[in-house]
Symmetry: C2
Subunit: 746 residues, 2 copies
């Protein structure tokens, strides 16, 4: 190209990309409306469909829907449609209608709508109008966001006929945010809840938080850490929380709180918290009344009881049922929900037959059918603890008369914090799509939890949030996609990870196909890459204690005073001959907690999926994998694949310079460099440690380590539980030892 042509092209490009090339700190999440350029055919089409907005019944939520359509239209089309309250719409208008509104009858949508429930909606193009119809104003708001998403992703909106309704009733974010605004396992700054400023000072972020969640279908928020501070349910804090609830309400988001089971003693002045003590039951009833006085649509309690040292009913010789039902009774009059966590593993870990993976099943299955109907048991996706890859939790499908809700982790506690790019929708899907066989083939975890297998009074799904005060909310721009992806799957678990990534990239960055395709490629490969350079082949929980960021594979049972089941060696069990945790019928027998044929599939080393091999089997280093390699060689290959994948991400990303704003481009480029460094740290650390046991060479065709085991073993990340400082990691000589700390999980 000669200079003039190149200049013209550059000019044209910069016009096409428009705002995209100006600075962008990522703070608008997926509501980042890039104006359509004159070159885009859809601009005229969209404008013609949004000449005005008409509605019949007014509510704060309808006003919110109108505001969103106007905001989007102004930014995307440089045209602000007027909102007209009337029961007669004109051609070209977007019509918002719910309940008994006239338009619904006109379109004979009443019956269809009735099947879609409180949050469902219809979007129909008819008579030159675009109708958003729902049973409630919330449904209309969700529909409005759907229409906006179609425009953000440049879809045809001229002939729409959509019916949507969410798979789960409660779609919840769990914030592990503390009173002091620290965030347990948070990697994006401090808590977004400014307790010290509330109720007087109100951050704009609260509304942005509500809009972003509503746009993706999330309708509940547990504001505080499950390791709960009782003060959150005192008037001083309820006053602050009321402010948030009032801001969230128009966006259909209910506030929940984690409670401390000891509250009757710690803040109630009682001498017990025994759930069968009438004074205790009375105290909780009064407390419920008090809370609902502040927040009439309060969602309910999340409870971590008799888990990792938290108080609970067992302290009084009572059961989880006694505890949960007491609280359920207190909230029942107000429609409140009790989410009771099943994350318990308190049996004597020194008993050789003990297997942490089996505990929640052993404690909860006997209680099936005894919980009140406004209690739901919250179960982590896997039996251990949010590992990069785990089999499904054996509880799914095992409690036929108790609703179970699934708990995913959005914050990347074990997946690279906010330093590494790991798109987790594929991991969520792996769990949701897994068949439990509890009622024969097709009884997937999704179906079991959304009521598709056994009827349940209420269905719910939760994700541990990754939000913080960082300008981009999540520390790593791409961590936004995990928040987004969780929300989308909570609405519809049938969506593919690929489709969600595609939407998110277009809504967050650009519709430029030369950007969308390679970035989607990175995202879709990123979770498997992380598994490969951290814990392939079923390895689990070999992270360094406390920070859960780097490898701690060398932490030996003999050298620790921690609980054995907090020590990596307890999980990998490697020695000179073999590696892996035998959970077959010949081992701890954990496999027997699954239904057939899953039980047999996992129990047989020949049929056990190789990506879970060492989770279920103790295997000789010389075991032949399906590809003919020995287990050790295959492990070396997997770690190398993981590292090379991240190097590939760097190459792919660097080619995209200029296609988006330099701010976000450099942000990701920087993070990817750190990720490659840390992938080397993982690969070197784990392979060199296992090699020190099995004395086998790393296949000579593979890249060699560049660290020594001695240095890596001595290396400690400062900060532990807190976020990992950029670059404060090898490949170097250890500098300052990390303060010894007991690992905490949730």
């Amino acid at each position: 190209m000669n200079k003039t042509i190149r200049k013209a092209v550059l000019l044209c490009l910069s016009l096409c990309c428009g705002v995209a090339l100006s600075a962008n700190d990522g703070s608008s999440l997926w509501l980042d409306y890039q104006p359509l350029s004159a070159q885009e055919s859809q601009k005229a089409e969209y404008t013609a469909r949004l000449t005005a907005i008409s509605y019949q019944t007014d509510t704060p939520t309808i006003q919110a829907a109108i505001e969103e359509l106007q905001l989007a239209s102004e930014a995307l089309l440089a045209h602000a449609p007027q909102a007209v309250r009337s029961n007669r719409s004109r051609p070209g208008e977007a019509v918002l209608a719910f309940g008994r509104d006239r338009a619904i009858g006109q379109l004979k949508a009443t019956e269809t709508l009735s099947a879609l429930g409180e949050d469902g909606y219809l979007i129909r193009s008819a008579d030159d109008r675009t109708y958003i119809l729902a049973n409630s104003d919330k449904g209309v708001l969700y529909g409005a966001f759907h229409l906006i998403r179609l425009m953000q992703t440049r879809q045809d909106i001229s002939a729409l006929n959509l019916a949507e309704s969410p798979a789960y009733d409660a779609r919840i974010l769990n914030h592990w945010d503390n009173l002091d605004r620290s965030v347990e396992r948070g990697y994006a700054g401090a808590s977004i809840w400014e307790w010290e400023a509330l109720p007087g000072t109100v951050s704009d972020r609260y509304k942005m938080y509500a809009r972003a969640n509503a746009a993706v279908g999330i309708n509940g928020s547990v504001l505080n850490n499950v390791n709960a501070n009782a003060n959150f349910i005192t008037p001083a804090y309820l006053e602050k929380i009321k402010v948030l609830a009032d801001i969230f309400r128009p966006y259909g988001i209910r506030v929940y709180l984690s409670i401390n089971f000891n509250s009757p003693q710690s803040i109630g002045g009682l001498d017990t918290s025994d759930p069968l003590d009438p004074r205790v039951r009375g105290w909780w009833k009064d407390k419920a009344k008090e809370i609902y006085g502040y927040i009439p649509d309060f969602g309910g309690f999340l409870v971590k009881a008799n888990s990792e040292g938290q108080p609970g009913p067992q302290d009084y010789g009572r059961t989880h049922v006694d505890g949960a039902n007491m609280l359920a009774e207190a909230l029942k009059p107000y429609g409140g929900l009790i989410m009771w966590r099943a994350f318990v593993y308190t049996v004597n870990a020194t008993d050789p037959s003990y297997d942490r993976a089996m505990q929640s099943y052993l404690e909860f299955v006997p209680l099936d059918g005894q919980f009140a109907d406004n209690v739901i048991v919250q179960v982590k996706n896997g039996p251990i603890d949010f590992q990069p890859r785990e089999p499904i939790n054996s509880l799914f499908g095992a409690m036929k008369e108790t609703p179970l809700m699934i708990e995913f982790q959005i914050t990347q506690e074990y997946l690279g914090h906010s330093i590494q790019l790991a798109y987790l929708a594929p991991m969520y899907k792996e769990t949701l799509d897994q068949d439990t066989y509890c009622a024969g083939p097709g009884s997937t975890v999704a179906k079991v939890t959304d009521g598709g297998v056994y009827p349940i009074p209420v269905s719910a799904i939760a994700g541990v949030a990754n939000t913080g005060t960082d300008a981009n909310w999540t520390g790593h721009i791409f961590a936004q996609s995990n928040w987004y992806g969780f929300g989308r799957l909570a609405w519809n678990p049938e969506l593919t990870s690929d489709a969600i990534a595609d939407e998110w990239i277009r809504m967050t960055f650009t519709n430029d196909p030369e950007f969308v395709a390679p970035v989607k490629g990175i995202m879709m490969a990123s979770h498997e890459a992380a598994v490969n350079y951290m814990q392939p082949l079923g390895l689990h929980h070999i992270f360094a204690g406390n920070h859960h960021y780097g490898p701690g594979v060398w932490e030996r049972l003999s050298q620790t005073t921690d609980r054995p089941d907090w020590v990596p060696e307890w999980y990998h069990r490697a020695d000179s001959l073999a590696i892996g945790f035998d959970r077959t019928t010949g081992g701890t027998g954990y496999v027997s907690q699954y239904f057939s044929p899953l039980k047999e599939l996992y129990n047989n080393i020949e049929t056990c999926p190789e990506n879970l091999l060492l989770f279920f089997h103790r295997v000789s280093w010389d075991y032949r994998m399906k590809n003919g390699r020995t287990l050790w060689d295959e492990m070396c290959y997997k770690y190398t694949e993981g590292l090379d994948a991240v190097r590939g991400f760097q190459k792919d990303w660097d080619r995209l310079e200029g296609k988006i704003d330099p701010e976000r481009f450099r942000h990701v480029q920087y993070k990817l460099r750190e990720q490659t460094r840390d992938a080397i740290w993982w690969r070197d650390g784990v392979l060199l440690y296992f090699q020190s046991l099995n004395h086998k060479p790393i296949p000579y065709e593979l890249e060699r380590p560049i660290n020594t085991l001695e240095l890596l073993m001595r290396y400690r990340i400062p900060g532990g539980n807190s976020s990992v400082a950029p670059g404060a990691r090898p490949l170097v000589m250890p500098t300052s030892p990390m303060a010894p700390g007991v690992p905490t999980t949730n």
Copy 2:
């Protein structure tokens, strides 16, 4: 193979490798005699040729030769030949003869010998005997070591007819060892000279040092740093030095000392050191007499004067000639030599026309023909300062009436200290083989300096030593090969780097061809690899100031108070458009100091060798290289080649586990890991810095950086001038800033 066979094979193998598989700390250097196994055909042959050793004239040096032959024979053949003093030898004996000994006449070797000079020798097989004939007992000792080397490398010794004589008269190691036992640019521990213990306590290492040097032909040792402390020539130290001289003497090694030109003032009590002052001249004469009283065969003085702040004749308005000739006069009566360094660059560096590369030529060429005949001018191989690659120093060939000696650096100041594997014989050869054209084609640097072009009274060559108190002497086992290689080339510059590497590997490790071939491959590729990941394409002196280990390419003239010619930017001169130092006739004109056609070759960008391009030319980033790539792309490729080469060394080395003792295997394996880390540091640092100027992408097919420029620029190695602590380098966030220090060179 079934078990029993495998066992048999393993047993056999371990027998073959013999001692090689037992621990070895590398302390015996190239005198590491591995016993021949029964399987080796040569064992019987060698034994039959060493039934006994006969000699006629006895001297300490002859006794040393006998001892060496006995040591070697005992270790290699498990047989100690008796030494018989007699003028009648028996068949099967090794016959040592020199001077007027009978055997020489018998073999009619008198004439041949006379051409071989004081250090030359003949080795002849005749009448079933092996004769080592020479003019001096030193020649016999060198011949004995030659015979031993033939056996160490498993050569046929049944029909020998060798004539050897060294190319250079003086083959010298320069130790930059200080009085406090620190070693400037030393990376192998403290000085091997235990000044505090001498003369009372005498380390075994002194004799080992003499044996190792004699074995490779080195016959002189400058014991102290050229930045000289005057106390070395006071009686207190001369007493200590005498002990070393007495130990070295039988091995043909003369002691030299670096002197401080100010000594008449600092230790002589005079008020001047003016070389034309009679009192000063008298003081030096007395000092010479005193020194020779202690050490009758004292070699002479090495002088760094008016260089980098050292005192010199110019302080009194005198010239280098005045200074050198005064000292020459003092040593003349005793046959002492003055080595006067030409490493001077004291002109005002802020003058834009100033070019450090030109200074020694400008100062010394006018003095040609004025130096006394026992003065020799010591010239570094290149015009700057021991860079990984430089063109030859323009002084070579330019002083027709003054002997020049070449100074190489064995210690790896700019070549990875004792952390990186860089075999330097190829670099020495590059200089020695380069044609200066001073007397037409064939006037190579070797010929110019060894007297092959102009007749010179004395020829000499020096290498800056890399010895220290580390058990293996040189920090890195492979650094021994640079000491060895320097010695072999000082004896015979015609030897190939490949042949020297082959000898050294066999003498140091093993004759196992499966080890020798790949290790030779690593060695032969190692210098070019270092050039590529540090300073390819003629880049020079972009090291971090002070430690000269890692990149300091970002050190800007504008940000420094140092001399401009101590700042990397002064050398690379990179900006957004171009990079390189214009030394053509259109630039500083340095090229004009070379003879035609070298001058024209370097002056023309089309003919200038690309591996020196940026040393001679300022070149646009978009300049097309011969392979069609732009300069910037080619630079990215070169740095990548360098990094990948080191990764390749790791793969090659790891395959050799078990072929040598685990101690040295792991030592090298560890060092290679560090080398790869530091190659990444170099590549990332230099490419990211230049990219920050030219804003060009690193070709997308190449591996991406994993560090950020900001972090690398802030990073400082603790310790500066001293050795670099293992692992105390990136890839990490800087920890403690290095104390600012002025770079010192020698």
